[in-house]
């Protein structure tokens, strides 16, 4: 009973800190946390839905903002943006806001106060809101989808192609392959899909796990990003952008040792709504001649 009470108290305290709301009324996730941005991870989520008002995910204090025309020592890819500080030293960042839509001179803001309007300023391909959440207590960039109310999504992620790589040689795994026993790197083309559009619009999954002969050999989880050895890495695996991405949707899952005989590979992928996909591969490693 006592344990249950402690658990409830803990749960409530977590909920009170992270009781965040969506910053827009029409929620369409067009880009997820951890996606490739050419040379770095996408450090937030993108929300489409055209022009719409932007609200704070929780009440907070304005810490920093940029409006076009304002002095800046560097070019600003985030466009017009506002940073809010919430309880627990968590800060939320709202980017690419429409010119002149940010209210200036405001120090604190409540959940119902409009922050600005979604726009296309900065490094942006169309009107959207980029939302980032940083925990300055743990020094980690958090995945907003793990903190915001759940998104509706029934479609499981897709494991499109899988390759094994030795040196410069890449071989697509069909499912029943015969190779020499060796150490190979496993690459996989994986993505989730937007449900609200009829064409292919790729999103990053939440988790990818690679099993080798029933044993977990690699796990990629897009839940938070931290700094490690001067680079931004995924918090759990400590893997950097270049360790994860071979190209935009092709993930470096990890290296495995193909032992003589049949090797069983299982790739399990989860999206943010909890939908799962998995694929099995059997690779026969023959005796080297």
């Amino acid at each position: 009973m006592k344990r249950l009470l402690i658990l409830i108290v803990l749960l409530l305290s977590v909920l009170s800190v992270y009781g965040f709301d969506w910053p827009v009324n029409k929620v369409i996730v067009t880009s997820t946390f951890g996606e490739s941005r050419g040379d770095h991870f996408h450090t937030g989520i993108d929300l489409g839905g055209g022009t719409q008002p932007v609200f704070p995910i929780s009440s907070g204090q304005v810490v920093f903002q940029y409006n076009s025309g304002q002095y800046s020592s560097t070019p600003i890819g985030l466009g017009n943006f506002v940073v809010l500080q919430h309880k627990g030293n968590i800060r939320s960042i709202y980017c690419h806001l429409k010119d002149n839509s940010i209210k200036t001179g405001i120090k604190s803001i409540s959940k119902s106060d409009q922050l600005g309007i979604t726009g296309d300023t900065g490094h942006s391909y169309g009107k959207h809101l980029h939302l980032s959440i940083i925990d300055f207590e743990t020094h980690s960039i958090l995945n907003p989808l793990t903190l915001l109310p759940p998104v509706k999504d029934k479609q499981p992620p897709i494991i499109k192609n899988v390759w094994m790589k030795t040196g410069d040689e890449e071989k697509k795994i069909s499912g029943t392959d015969t190779v020499k026993p060796s150490r190979v790197e496993i690459l996989a083309e994986i993505y989730d899909l937007r449900e609200d559009v009829s064409f292919i619009w790729k999103l990053a999954p939440y988790m990818i796990v690679l099993y080798e002969n029933g044993v977990e050999s690699a796990r990629i989880t897009f839940d938070s990003i931290v700094k490690y050895s001067g680079k931004l890495v995924l918090a759990g695996s400590k893997r950097s952008f270049n360790d994860i991405y071979a190209s935009d949707w092709i993930y470096r899952l990890g290296s495995i040792e193909l032992l003589e005989g049949e090797n069983h590979l299982l790739i399990l992928v989860k999206d943010f709504a909890g939908n799962e996909s998995m694929r099995n591969f059997f690779i026969n490693a023959g005796k080297p001649k």
Binding site: Q61, V63, Y66, P75, G230, K231
Partner: protein, 359 residues
Amino acid sequence: MKKKKQRYIVPLSILVVIVFTGFFSLPTGREIVVKPVWYRNLKTVKIVKSNKIQQGNKYIWYRNGRLFGYTDLEGNIYLRETGSFFTSLTDKVFIDYSKVAENFFLKNPKGELISGFHAFGYPFFDETGQRLFVIKTDLSGISEITETGDITWEQDFNSVITSVSVSSGEISVGLLDGAFKIIDNKGRIVFDVKPSGSSIQVITGSAASKDGDMFACISGLNPQKILIFKKKNSNYSVIYSKDINSDFRREVLMRFSPGGRFLIFEAKGGMGIIDINTETTQFIRFNGKIKELSILKEEGLIAAASSSRNRSFFELLKPMNSVFLYTEIKGRIGTLRRIGNHIILGVRDGIMRIDIEDI
């Protein structure tokens, strides 16, 4: 008797004047003469054809709104282009790039292509044009690259870059989490501090002296502080720290004078000047937000451009003295550059040269 007395009046008066001017006169002080030399309307001006450009020409870059290009002290316009999204300019080379660019093209002041390469992020040069940096579009990292696109070093941050200042060797980076870092020319963080004493931590401005011996930042909210760091035997220590009454929640402009004696920064309702030698501070009331600052002469003269809504202002002042030239400019104000004792100022649809003579 009366006549005899009158005879002495004139030579005595002359003698009094000579004695007074010789022993009691005070210098009248140096006068500063501000002289507009030329104005070129960028919409109508004739561009010098590239085959008529002489070898060894000294180009000066300018920017006004989205228009940018090159001029010289005589006011010849060699290039006038409309920028795509942002243009990083030096007197020798420029990169104009779109907001979603993944390729950089370096061009010379004639607009001829020097090199092109694939890169992510937004490029910017240091003031001398010798060093090229790339800032990640999400402001989470910075790198230095060569003019062919090779990365010399890079640093990532689990935060957001709020301010960058470049000296001859080091570069300082201010972050959203309140950290202020100095990175050497090999990409190593040689100084890392998070000023305390404010209820909210954030860096809202930074400056680096030309020689890299001094750095400064504006830190925190409630209260906001200004700190100056001095390099001594490759270590940095705080030589000045003071609460200021501002509450900036945006980046503010701050610069060291070329000789490093003064730190000039946007203050609440105007400009603050710290004399580092005497640790005295001066406040000068200003209209609007300071957008550009240029310091003429080693420790001498500050030229500033500020704006408030649709009004622009140009001011000239001496540190620890008052504003001696103040003028409202109708329309926008663009480039404010110092070339010796000349100022190139973007005004309305054009650019102008103003000479400052100290007589």
